[in-house]
Amino acid sequence: MIEFSNWDILRNLLLAARWTVVLSLVSFVGGGIVGLGLLFMRISRSRWPRLFAGAYVELFQGTPLLMQLFLAFFGLALFGINVPAWLAAGVALILWTAAFLAEIWRGCVESIAKGQWEASASLGMGRMQQMRYVVLPQAMKIAIPPTVGFSVQVVKGTSLTSIIGFVELSKAGTIVTNATFLPFTVYGYVALIYFVLCFPLSKSSQYLERKLNVAHRNH
């Protein structure tokens, strides 16, 4: 029987954790871009974009991420499109993240006082100018803490992609367990690595929230 040192285990897990980080970043950035598009549709003055974005958000918030991953992975295969696990994982997570970010940001935009819209309108600004120069700069400040906070959910969400076979931290945990028969040690390390990734994010979210509250200043 081969002996595995702690370092062997940890090294393998850390190598796989790279993919957790990459997938998290891709999901977050991609989701942010798609989410911004959804946000503009959601607060648009025309009906159809608003309805579409609303339905999109409901759909992705109302179904488990796991089902979305299955649908992206197995669903497309049904149509003869063979998607590799990394692609299905990336796409599903981007779309899922976009739904949540769009909803968080919509709340922030709507929290901007009506008077800001009215004052900028009365000065002759068009809708896009109001957004760009008056509303978004203020909404962004409010959006920072919940957005950073949500990134924790994204990191944890990536663990589900192990089920469709993408080798990130959780999947590596399973593989290493099968080789070492040390589930408690291995999953202990896995959890620890997730914690090391997430803790700074949730702490900084709390810090930012407190800081922006105390300063109470919108500039």
């Binding site: 006082a113 008077g115 800001q116 009215e118 004052a119 900028s120 309108a121 009365s122 000065l123 002759g124 600004m125 068009g126 809708r127 100018q129 120069y133 008056v134 700069p137 203020q138 400040k141 109470h216 200043r217 919108n218 500039h219």
Partner: protein, 242 residues
């Protein structure tokens, strides 16, 4: 031709008809006070004039710019008529100076140096040249309202709509804002102001409009409206003021 022409304007919120056919012509340089009970439609009328509310029927024109719901018409109209709000509505993420510069640069595409020169001039005019770099939350209510006036003036409108511009202020700050408005009136700016400051209306305005239940119930020079009210509603309203 009048500067502001309001013809048979009707406005409903759902089943609630708030403006029931308003006719009002305002000549250049006139200062008009709009008085009336809460809910009589004073704010709604002002908000209709610069398109913050859409009207159900009738027409509104300011210096030839017709009120229409599309963005192009609205912009043309809003360049002619500015608005000052009860709650100031300064942009909190911008300094006083930037507040006054922003719409010049964004809407009129004025180059920055000129916009800044104009901002300094307008802040000077409301007595706040020294607050150019202050953020709104570093200013008193009275100062914020004066910045808001400067911001509207910087767009060089032909008329200003003022909706209870001193109602949100502590009593000791009311006079500094009224002084600025009075000066504008003296310089010939056309003003349409909803106000509860009867003294001010009497001293400064050329005409007083008494609104009651969505109609112009009585209109005339302050001496007549305050001195010899014709309708029992106005008499009752004026009686309740003291």
């Amino acid at each position: 031709m009048s500067l502001i022409e309001i013809t048979d304007v009707r406005k409903s919120f759902g089943a609630n008809e708030v403006l029931k056919g308003i006719d009002l012509n305002v000549e250049p340089g006139e200062v008009i006070a709009i008085i009336g009970k809460s809910g009589s439609g004073k704010s709604t009328l002002l908000r209709c004039i610069n398109g913050l509310e859409t009207i159900n029927s009738g027409s509104i024109q300011v210096a030839g710019a017709q009120l229409a719901p599309d963005e192009l018409h609205l912009k043309a109209l809003r360049l002619k008529v500015g608005m000052i709000f009860q709650s100031f509505n300064l942009f909190p993420h911008k300094t006083a100076g930037q507040n006054v510069m922003l719409s010049q640069m964004v809407v009129k595409k004025t180059p920055k140096p000129e916009a800044e020169a104009m901002a300094r001039k307008m802040l000077e005019r409301v007595g706040l040249a020294h607050k150019f770099d202050a953020y709104p939350d570093e200013l008193s209510g009275g100062q914020q309202q004066r910045v808001a006036i400067a911001r509207a003036l910087a767009m060089q409108p032909m008329a200003l709509l003022c909706d209870e511009v001193t109602s949100a202020l502590d009593p000791e700050l009311v006079q500094e804002v009224l002084a600025v408005v009075k000066e504008l009136a003296a310089e010939g700016m056309t003003l349409l102001m909803v106000t509860h400051e009867m003294r001010f209306a009497r001293d400064v305005c050329s005409r007083v409009v008494f609104m009651h239940m969505g109609r112009v119930h009585e209109i005339g020079p302050p001496a007549e409206v305050f001195g010899a009210p014709k309708t029992p509603e106005l008499r009752q309203f004026l009686g309740a003021q003291h």
